[in-house]
Amino acid sequence: MSASRYRIVQSSAASRVAATLGLIVLAALVLAPYWAGRSDLRLLGEILLYLSLASLWNLLAGYAGLVSVGQQAFVGLGGYALFGLTIFGGLNPIVAVLAAGVIGGLVAMPVAALIFRLRGAYFAIGTWVMAEVFRLVAAQVSALGGGSGTSLPTAVVQSIADGRDAREATSYWLALAMAVLVLAVIYAVLRSRKGLALTAIRDNELAARSLGIDIWRTKFTIYVIVGALTAAVGALIFLQKLRISPDAAFSVNDWTAFVIFIVVIGGIGTVEGPIIGVIVFFLLRETLADLGTTYLIILGTFAIGVMLLAPKGLWGMVRARSDIQLFALRRKVVAKLKD
């Protein structure tokens, strides 16, 4: 039995169908400013930004085992970077979004060096402390309105695009581009050697170490990548909102709790999970929004229920019934046909 009779494939019929469907959906999304109304477009943009946040948190927690509850640090940092760079640096907002990403990555490095000293759940709360520090520092920046925050000046807003429709479309396209970028980066990371190392670490840290995988460096790299992208997403969020304040920018509920709920409801540790989760989250939100705080109580209860009854999430339930995989990540050994 020679090795050449087998080949390793990463794609499957399901993933090819999914890719085709994905392209169709993508095309529809690109054209959304032409078919969707203003409020629908805003909602779509928000969904895409939440998809990015959820996918990033999933990479961090579901793959690298870094369960952070402080990603609002980077969302807020990105938002404040956008405001600072456009208002004081005179940068074009779109350039500022990219710069916010760079800043996010740079800040993530010392942050990681410090909080990687904490393990497990204490790491989680340590990330939250970090976010609190960021929030309190932001509240000290009186040039950006201190504790009460500030709005993006009209001149900056107008420099995004001419006219409100064009601006909202640009904002939306940026959110779409960001979601595509985030998914592409995650896909690339997971298919790389680092991705394999991550899976190995997640499955068994001790064994991974004995295989010579440098766990700290692998986790550090992922943390920095996620920090950079999360900051860029944060910049886009506040480019859409046009107003920032420390409490909104560093909100643990908005940028972490809901994001975790999305990932867990959809299915942690899968690329598909956050996509499913974000759809469910927004379906719930749009149907129950009138209930106000009751909606959040229902959401919290739903997330707890999923965690206790179906810890692999909705996508996990689908997977348990069929071996389907939309993003071809697992490698399969297939016997080659005679050739």
Binding site: I125, T293, I304
Partner: protein
């Protein structure tokens, strides 16, 4: 004199932080559970105290007679009903479930009590003070601090000198073998959470007397408690008290420099200590 005063007031405030932290420390020690909803449970206790004082016309401190057992009961039911199902090797389950609880509690309180800040009125106790040397000590902060010392001493004694404490330590060491000894870990964990929330009840009532509160402030209290636990060293109760004091003093000193720096100074002290002493000042010494 201002500085000495700030330091003394900070010490006393540290007692309250130690009360926030003691419950966290206890449940982490016994079942390795980190409860994200801990701060919201403190706030819940404050609202319970408010309701009891309002309904019965009691002094806020007397409301403890009802708040403490009520919180203990909530703790036991919560642990047996929900949290026990999350205990295991997986970190995510307890984290997510307590996060969910946190969101439920916050919004539940918001629904019932609205977002308006509330405060319990302890009458003359709030303004009473005793001059010591050149500084005046508020009776309430002193009472809070002494209560914290008493609670920590009590917990320490319970842990090392009672059958319940023995059961807690045994279960913490090895759950399966403890079960063999006839200890039902679900029940032991329930008792640990009951005790932790009883302490939380005290913390909540003191919080509600000292400052105004609203449903959103739980996260901040969780963080103070967490910082005190880590500074003092995981699983070390006296260390936790010291952690609370360090936090309180840092905040008071920060506020003395610039009123806006109060909280920031506390967090920075925590991060600096984390950088130089990642295992805390007193690493777990009870084995």
């Amino acid at each position: 004199m201002d500085w000495l005063n700030a330091i003394v007031q900070g010490c006393l405030l540290g007692g309250l932080y130690a009360l926030f932290a003691a419950g966290l420390s206890l449940i982490f020690g016994v079942m390795r559970l980190v409860n994200i909803a801990h701060g919201d449970l403190i706030v819940l206790a404050a609202y319970l105290g408010l309701t009891v004082t309002g309904a019965l016309g009691l002094h806020p401190l007397m409301s403890l007679l009802i708040v403490i057992p009520a919180m203990a009961l909530i703790g036991y039911v919560l642990q047996r009903g929900i949290l026990n199902r999350t205990i295991g090797d997986d970190l995510l389950a307890p984290l997510l479930v307590t996060f969910g609880l946190s969101v439920i509690l916050q919004n539940g309180l918001l629904e019932v009590f609205s977002a308006d800040p509330q405060k319990m009125n302890a009458g003359a106790l709030e303004t009473a003070s005793i001059p010591v040397g050149g500084i005046t000590l508020g009776v309430l902060p002193v009472l809070m601090f002494l209560t914290a010392v008493g609670v920590i001493a009590g917990l320490q004694w319970m842990f090392y000198h009672t059958a319940l404490g023995r059961a807690f330590r045994a279960t913490s060491d090895n759950q399966a073998i403890a079960q063999l000894m006839g200890l039902n870990r679900a029940h032991v964990f329930g008792l640990a959470m009951a005790l932790a929330l009883a302490v939380t009840g005290i913390a909540g009532v003191f919080l509600g007397i000292r400052t105004s509160f609203d449903p959103s402030i739980g996260g901040g209290r969780l963080i103070f408690g967490f910082e005190a636990v880590i500074i003092g060293g995981l699983g070390n109760l006296w260390g936790t008290l010291l952690g609370g004091i360090i936090l309180g003093v840092s905040q008071a000193v920060g506020a003395q420099i610039n009123p806006g720096w109060q909280l920031l100074a506390g967090h920075i002290a925590f991060l600096v200590l984390l950088a130089v002493r990642p295992k805390g000042l007193f690493p777990r010494m009870d084995g």
